[in-house]
């Protein structure tokens, strides 16, 4: 509304204006001649795919990186942001995507660390700010005991205590329930009404339409468009963001359900780490041709569930996990894999794949049994190479070749490769965790298509994800994992993300208005 109206004669300078910002890493220009401006009181969206250069730009604005070229104007005056400390001194606050928090410390200590001069009476000021902006927070709690939503509040409160004039939020809702996201939007609108400029980085178009006054769209490190989100169709924004060749999302199909392929009952598992979540009495059934979605906020036992299903952590009780009616609960991952239960864990580098190993070696690591890559104890390199080539071709993996190290692939390509590796083993049951986390839209569509393809071919698929849109689109049924227990499975038809959000927030949130 502001920028679209004719420029008034005495227009106040933008809070922050970037002119011609360029940043190169070797031959790659992560940012190229980027211009944009954020006005006081404006919520400005920075929209783009993964790898579009959003994060680089934000790091430059917060002083974590220095631009090679270009200048920045703060309230109309040229300025140089040499460090995060300098950014904070100007009045720039930053809420990171991967939080900059310290698990083993209290909320208060975490807040103090983010302030240059904490001063006395900090606990009281934390309580004040959290009341004013309805961000409930107990200063004495340890961070490790807090939910993701609460952790984000620490970051926001930490910024607000410095009375920021520009608040930058990097993908803030990627880890929140819909209800938590709504509460965040309320806080941001309150802040903007106070005259704070807000730079909101996201790739979620619906959110940007609901929240932001203006948007600057990045692609390949360049500004490719600007718009008023409320007046621009979603498809048009997506087209600008992705460029040519926007893939359509998979269409919902109904598949006939076959025999029970995976049955889980009374599954208990202690937490994997000090700050993990114990699984309690997990139970569900999964039939051939079905996709079951497991929704839930991160840290509610997703990691443990993946480990329990894949066999990375077997349990005593053999019938807790049954694959094709064979008890497998006490069997390890290799045994379950031979039986046809394959798994794509959340962490691509270091869990699903060895970053330093070639794609051939990575393919071998899980596929050696079912793809018959070993003969008399010796690795059959030729077969492993042929398999790797086939995965690369079938799944459209962009890699230098089968000998390329896994670490050289982009997140989306590595994920396509890992999924392809598991699909090549013709799994009876496939467990995938966060299949499209940090993956660009087109790769995500390809991954979704592959999962649906497996179900159509008679496989059974468990998708553990925090992305409700993804689950609603893919799954036949959805269950919610909350505090280590699994809800009843609900048919996806007629299920809304609001309903799921309430379940994800637990019974307490469901009771709240």
């Amino acid at each position: 509304m502001r920028a679209m109206s004719p420029i008034p004669s005495i227009k106040p300078a933008p809070r922050l204006e970037a002119r011609g910002i360029t940043k190169r890493f070797g031959a790659l220009a992560a940012n190229e001649a980027i211009d944009f401006a954020v006005e006081p009181g404006e919520i400005h969206a920075l929209l783009g795919e993964n790898g579009a250069g959003k994060s680089t730009l934000v790091k430059i604005l917060y002083g974590l990186l220095q631009a090679d070229e270009g200048e920045m104007l703060w309230n109309g005056r040229e300025t140089r942001i040499a460090s995060p400390r300098a950014a904070r001194a100007l009045g720039i606050g930053m809420v990171f995507q991967h939080f900059s928090l310290f698990e083993a410390m209290s909320v208060l200590e975490n807040v103090a660390l983010g302030l240059d001069r904490p001063g006395p009476g900090l606990a009281e000021r934390v309580r004040d700010v959290s009341r004013t902006y309805s961000l409930p927070l107990d200063p004495d709690r340890m961070v490790s005991t807090l939910s993701i939503g609460e952790r984000q509040r620490i970051e926001i409160v930490r910024c607000l205590l410095q009375s920021p004039r520009l608040l930058i939020l990097d993908e803030p809702t990627s880890v929140l329930t819909p209800q938590e996201a709504d509460a965040l939007f309320g806080t941001l609108r309150l802040l903007a009404a106070d005259g704070c400029a807000i730079l909101y980085i996201s790739h979620k178009l619906d959110e940007i339409r609901a929240l932001c006054d203006r948007a600057t769209i990045l692609r390949g490190g360049k500004v490719v468009g600007r718009c008023v989100p409320a007046e621009t169709p979603v498809r048009q924004m997506a087209q600008m963001m992705i460029g040519s060749g926007l893939r359509d999302a998979v269409a919902k199909t109904t598949r006939p359900a076959g025999a029970v392929r995976l049955k889980v009952q009374g599954l208990d598992l202690p937490p994997a780490t000090l700050h993990g979540t114990a699984l309690r009495d997990i139970g569900f059934e999964l039939r051939a041709g079905e996709i079951l979605g497991i929704a839930g906020v991160a840290g509610n036992g997703q990691g443990e569930l993946q480990q329990a299903l894949s066999g990375e952590r077997p349990v005593r009780q053999a019938d807790a996990v049954m694959i094709d009616a064979v008890p497998a609960g006490d069997r390890d991952a290799a045994w379950r894999r031979r039986r046809g239960l394959c798994c794509v864990p959340e962490e691509r580098n270091g869990h699903a794949a060895v970053p330093e190993f070639s794609l051939i070696d990575n393919a071998f690591l899980t596929a050696h049994d079912r793809a018959d890559l070993v003969s008399r104890g010796l690795v059959r390199r030729d077969r492993a190479r042929a398999l790797t080539r086939r995965i690369i071709a079938d799944c459209d993996v962009r890699a230098a070749g089968p000998d390329a190290a896994a670490a050289t692939l982009s997140g989306g390509n590595l994920q396509k490769f890992i999924l392809g590796r598991e699909l090549a083993q013709d799994p009876a049951v496939l467990v995938v965790a966060q299949p499209t986390w940090g993956v660009d839209t087109n790769a995500a569509a390809a991954i979704h298509q592959a999962l649906v393809g497996l179900a159509e071919a008679g496989g059974a698929v468990v998708v553990i994800s925090q992305d409700l849109d993804e689950l609603l689109m893919l799954s036949d049924r959805i269950a919610v994992l909350q505090g280590g227990t699994l809800s009843a499975t609900l048919p996806t038809d007629g299920l809304s993300s609001e309903h799921l959000g309430l379940l994800m927030g637990g019974a307490g949130a469901a009771a709240a208005p």
Binding site: S100, L101, F102, L113, P118
Partner: protein
């Protein structure tokens, strides 16, 4: 055992514990910053021989102690450069530092073996030292008091000062500390220097006060015990003091038992006690219910590369 005897045992326990405590406190600070320096033994030996050499040449105890501190810090600076700037493996570099320090100290010490020097002067605490019997416990050299003051100072620094908070933050989540704007590598380097200085001081205590002489390899594994004490103490200064006194006590007790001949146990077995104690403690606290309560700094031993 007479009261006189008990006080004597306590007295020797304090002196035996002091070098362990000094070195352990230094390493504790290093590890709280997220760095594992296994070179404590080497830094102690280098400190011991440097201090002894200066004492023997100048007769000035203050200068001798300062030299030992500087020598320990210098060795630590090499370690810091290798693991922070060149990002070498901390375990391998620490082990190499111990081997290097052992060899270097033997080289420096060749001309000094067997030379006598006067021990550090006793500084009696007014009033307390006049108490009959236990008064002897308050008539010790400066480094014994310094070690105890250092425990309080480091505990206070880590808990109550901003510098301590930032140091812990760097050891807990280096990436987070970096993104807020703290100079992770600089803080770690300073911590490493401090650790080296304290190890050098601990070494100097051995060669200037505990047994005022230089013998090759005279630390006899105390650097490793100091490392174990840090884990035993769960990275907390006051517990480190407890640990050092416990290990010091065991050492003294086994010497006493050997000398008294009260128990029909071969002296070799008794000499093993402090080392067996180390293994026992490390096994106990890394297993089962203890584990959660004794969790190390989350970034301990991990190299930090500032992201781009």
């Amino acid at each position: 055992m007479s009261a006189e005897m008990l006080v004597s045992l306590l007295l020797t326990t304090m002196t035996a514990a002091t070098p362990l405590l000094l070195a352990a406190l230094g390493e504790l600070v290093v590890e709280r910053a997220g760095v594992l320096n296994l070179g404590v033994e080497g830094m102690m030996l280098t400190g011991a021989v440097s201090g002894f050499a200066i004492m023997s040449l100048t007769g000035n105890p203050a200068l001798a102690i300062l030299t030992a501190v500087a020598a320990g810090a210098l060795l630590a600076a090499i370690f810091g450069f290798l693991v922070l700037s060149l990002m070498s493996n901390q375990v391998a570099t620490g082990l190499a530092l111990t081997i290097f320090g052992t060899g270097l100290s033997a080289l420096i010490g060749t001309g000094f073996t067997g030379r006598p020097v006067p021990g550090l002067a006793k500084l009696p605490v007014p009033v307390l030292s006049a108490i009959p019997l236990v008064g002897r416990l308050f008539d010790q050299d400066a480094l014994v008091y310094l070690a105890i003051v250092a425990v309080a100072a480091i505990a206070w620094f880590l808990k109550s000062t901003r510098g301590g908070l930032v140091l812990r933050a760097v050891g807990e989540a280096d990436l987070s500390a970096h993104s807020i704007g703290y100079p992770v590598l600089r803080i770690r380097f300073l911590a490493i220097l401090f650790g080296g200085a304290m190890a050098g001081l601990g070494g100097a205590y051995l060669s200037l006060a505990y047994t005022p002489m230089w013998v090759e390899n005279m630390t006899a594994g105390r650097g490793w015990i100091a490392l174990a004490i840090v884990v035993f103490a769960a990275w907390r200064p006051w517990r480190a003091a407890g640990g050092a006194y416990l290990f010091g006590g065991i050492t003294v007790l086994q010497l006493y038992l050997q000398g008294s001949g009260l128990l029909p146990i071969p002296p070799q077995l008794l000499s093993m006690l402090p080392y067996l104690g180390t293994i026992l403690v490390l096994t106990l606290i890394s297993s089962g219910p203890f584990r959660a309560r004794f969790s190390p700094p989350a970034c301990l031993g991990k190299p930090f590369r500032p992201p781009t």
